[in-house]
Symmetry: C2
Subunit: 193 residues, 2 copies
């Protein structure tokens, strides 16, 4: 029998708590002692469930990146006007950001301090390159204001998208769908009446 299994942690619950604390204090600002306190166990108990601090980070970053990679794979197979594909990518990005909020939040703060972080940055750059290319396509098709540099548009557009990790809290501020609607409305159409 398996059900209920008493009380206790497993690799999944440890990861969830760890990512929450990493986001509160920053990865480097979080000690294993901090994690232990948040889990209600001693430091050594953590090592029963996971191999170490850096692997905790690696698993968290993979969760974020797997979502973004899946998006790219899906969308590479799509066709139609680039501007419409771009809008879909933005909407899907918002969805993934919200669904995997703590993991993506962590990813967006990574600086490349370790091999793990550098690997994550490389995977992230693939996503950036994909989006960047898509915006250029849309510009080449004449769907983006010609006075705006496509590279700049990409950065500002995803600056707005990524800022979601800085202020969005689930349950507040509407559903992910409404959020995506508003974001697309503002970035594509402008905030001015």
């Amino acid at each position: 029998m398996e059900r209920e299994r008493k009380r206790g942690h497993d690799p999944e619950s440890v990861l969830a708590v760890a990512v929450r604390v990493f986001n509160e204090r920053g990865y480097d600002g979080t000690s294993m002692e901090d994690l232990a306190r948040a889990l209600g166990v001693t430091k050594s108990a953590i090592y029963y469930h996971v191999p170490g601090k850096e692997q905790l980070l690696a698993r968290a970053l993979d969760r974020a990146l797997d979502g973004l990679t899946a998006l790219v794979v899906d969308e590479r197979a799509a066709s139609g006007p680039a501007i419409e594909r771009l809008e879909r990518v933005v909407r899907q990005s918002v969805r993934i950001l919200v669904e995997r909020l703590p993991y993506v939040t962590l990813l967006l703060r990574v600086r490349g301090n370790s091999a793990t972080e550098q690997r994550a940055l490389e995977r992230r750059r693939e996503f950036d390159a994909f989006v960047s290319h898509l915006v250029k396509e849309a510009a080449a098709e004449g769907s983006i204001r010609p006075d705006l540099d496509p590279a700049l548009v990409t950065r500002l557009l995803f600056g707005a998208v990524n800022s979601i990790t800085e202020w969005y809290r689930p349950g507040r501020g509407g559903s992910p769908g409404e959020l995506a609607d508003a974001l697309v409305a503002m970035t594509f159409g402008g905030l001015r009446v």
Copy 2:
């Protein structure tokens, strides 16, 4: 006589190097040993010029916040349509971000881990409140699309502005003025043709 003063460091040059390294590795991810290496001196030499690591952070954050505070003071005295004042605040924000890029970059990564960081977050919140109010005014005057929540507009708008610290490098990608022009064009008017 004063001129040239041989070679060597002073509190100012230590701060400049420290902030650069803080931004590369993160504040918590940077050791005094790292700073010493970047300065070409030993750890102890740093303490001759500055009182410690946290004061280095405090001074850096003050540089960023003093700029933003000055902007608020200036703009509180301004009049005219809120939408025009908002556009001016955005342009000035871009200017300050670029002028004080390393300092503002550091500020935007602060999580509140120490008393120093919490004080900085409080000052930053004053700026956010000011901008938030301004967007609401503009909405009340009918200058912002009524289907967009003003609070959301504020966050996305400054999500785009603040993203500058993530990718802008001086000398590349045009002058600060052109950057502000493009940013205002896109956020106010939309990226679509």
